[in-house]
Amino acid sequence: MLTGLSNNFVGHMKALPPDWPGNIWWHWVIFTVIILVFFLGSVIMFIYMERRVLGKMQARLGPNRVGPFGLLQAIADAVKVLMKEMVTPANADKIVYWLAPAVTFAPVVMVLAVVPFANGASLADLNIGIIYVVAISSLSSIGVFMAGWSSSNKYSMLGAMRMVAAVVSYEMPIVLALASVVLIAGSMSLNEIVISQQSYPMLLMQPLAFFLMFIAGCAEINRSPFDLMEADSEIVAGFHTEYTGMKFALFYLAEYGEAVVMSTIIATVFLGGWRGPFLPPWLWLILKVFFVFFLMVWTRTTLPRVRIDQLMSLAWKFLFPLGLINLLLSSLEVLAYPDGIPWYFIFANIVVGAALVMLMSRFYKVGGGRVAVG
């Protein structure tokens, strides 16, 4: 009965053809505008939301002067940043220094090309959507390393090295989590994954994958508790120490953009993207994206930061084995029930997932410590 209901929903919203409204170029223009509006609007709202929510959780008010309820704070920050003098360090590698922000920012927006805003409504509904997402999102670490290297500043170099090590390590748990989801959904296209979440979101069927994706996602985008790449209290500002003006604004935008993109991917893959009753589908997507970001802000304001070697050991010794076990279990389930896994497997999955996490954390030892220095 449940599947019948949701089938009605899908049938009610017919899939948009891939070249709606008929001309491929108009499709491209309209969706580019939609993506840019969504991206920039989300970034501004995220910045505002983070500062307000952070403030409320820290027993203080956030920004509340600029505009009604402080809503225009991000715009005021943008104007301030645009008016700053762009200083280039004397020893910097000029071309690399100049290109780094662009190389960091561009892949972030490109990921949104495959995200469906309604049934079939994405710029390009690739049938290898997940591979595209993972591949493109790891390109921004090149830009970060370019920034750290070209600044000719030891702090920046430290930050950039940490960043590259962390991004490469956390790709593995993300890929494993997404691979389990792909197995259950039966397709790598993001729209198909959303359609396959007919009666219940993927979060219930794959709780362990959601757990992995959330943690590894926070680490990929340098959010607390893994924000040691730009740890304010340690290495001044990490790789973007030497950047001012619009270049710094691009890094800032890229950081929040990565948060937008990661939240969107998690919302699409695990929470059911544009699915939901009564409201238009793009509104559901936006609400879910904001909910996931709220979870990220919540963890940021509560937890202290981990050390770099603890970060690496978390990725390789804790998340990676969990990801492998999750993949194994999911493939066993899919093999046993090729026509669709019955709904009562949700409970088994949740119980098994929780038990695995408890068991792994018992055996997981944070290594590292004092190194004997001669």
Binding site: K154, E234, V306, Q310
Partner: protein
């Protein structure tokens, strides 16, 4: 095949988001591991000891405020103890109780800042820091009620205190005493058994007992190593022998133990303030001391347990209205002696955490 690496020198300069004050370290790093560390201070040297030779005994008290500017009541008190020892001045009962109440409240306020900045260095993005500042506001409001000042109080005088408490002080104090334990429990709930804090601070920056005694450490740094040495118990000054309180002691001497010692000391200070507020008598707040004190020629060393450690003043007098020599024993300067040994071998992020767990104030180190 080993990788050829080359150590490089990084300058954590005087202006840095996490050095508490203007403190400079030249750190030699091999990758992320600290190989050598050279602390350089003196950026806040104001020559207080030399200035003290030209001011009257009462006029030095504002100078002593600026030593450990986070805990100025205890600095004032240490100096006044020294002058009283030198000149043989007695202090009336009410003044003694007021001194104890103010010192212990100051200890709580200073520890709130120390623990808050420790968590800031661990990376908890200002949340514990701001919560602790919210509590510190209440204590600072109490101080403002009495002295009119929020940071540098200039309250103690040789022979007593400078102002009496207004009527609304004791009820407001009772309010704070009722609510502080709940707030401290709130911090403990979220932070005491935090896994990430364990990973960052447990076993990090261990100071052994022998080294701590050898370098002249005092305060939470010494007690975190397991040495039960608190001036309030071993050499009681003022009326501390009338109050019941425990001295918390750590086990390993790592950053986590120092943080725990500070939290427990806050709870013990609340106990002392409760007992003092119940027993406070009426009476004069300052004994009859001339405006220009001329102590007889001699020397005296007065010390007490300040939030950072043992603050002492060695005063040499030649019978005139200004001291011949005023030497300040700064606990933060002593505690820093072991900085290099504690940090070498750890990583850059641990350096910040270990340095933060000392909770030094540069005003004391440089004087």
């Amino acid at each position: 095949m080993t990788l050829r690496t080359e150590p490089f020198v990084i300058n954590m300069g005087p202006v840095h988001p996490s050095t508490h004050g203007v403190f400079r370290m030249r750190v030699t790093l091999d990758g992320e591991v600290v190989v050598n560390l050279e602390p350089i201070f003196g950026y806040l040297h104001r020559g207080i000891e030399k200035l003290a030779e030209e001011r009257t005994y009462t006029g030095i008290i504002p100078l002593t405020d600026r030593l450990d500017y986070v805990a100025s009541m205890t600095n004032n008190l240490a100096y006044c103890l020294s002058v009283e020892k030198l000149a043989g001045i007695t202090v009336p009962e009410r003044a003694e109780y007021l001194r104890v109440i103010m010192s212990e409240l100051q200890r709580i306020a200073a520890h709130l800042i120390s623990v808050g900045s420790f968590f800031n260095d661990c990376g908890a993005y200002f949340t514990p820091f701001l919560y602790m500042f919210r509590e510190r506001e209440r204590i600072v409001d109490l101080f403002e009620m009495v002295t009119g000042q929020r940071l540098l109080y200039n309250y103690m005088r040789p022979g007593g205190v400078s102002q009496d408490i207004p009527e609304e002080f004791l009820p407001a104090l009772q309010e704070v005493l009722k609510q502080m334990p709940l707030y401290i429990d709130e911090y403990e709930r979220l932070l005491k058994d935090n896994e990430i804090l364990y990973a960052r601070a447990r076993g990090v920056g261990i100071l052994t007992k022998e080294m701590a005694v050898n370098i002249g450490a005092s305060g939470p740094v010494l007690r975190g190593c397991g040495v039960k040495w608190d001036i309030r118990k071993v050499d009681p000054y003022s009326i501390y022998d009338r109050f019941e309180f425990d001295v918390p002691v750590g086990t390993q001497g790592d950053c986590y133990d120092r943080y725990r010692v500070r939290i427990e000391e806050m709870k013990q200070s609340l106990r002392i303030v409760e007992q003092a507020a119940k027993q406070i008598p009426d009476g004069p707040i300052r004994s009859d001391v001339p405006q220009l004190i001329r102590p007889p020629a001699g020397e005296a060393y007065g010390h007490l347990e300040a939030p950072t450690g043992e603050v002492g003043f060695y005063l040499v007098s030649d019978g005139s209205i200004a001291p011949y020599r005023c030497h300040i024993r700064a606990p933060s300067l002593m505690n820093l002696t072991a900085l290099r040994d504690m940090i070498v071998g750890w990583k850059v992020q641990d350096l910040i955490v270990i340095f933060g767990s000392f909770a030094i104030t540069m005003g004391e180190v440089d004087r």
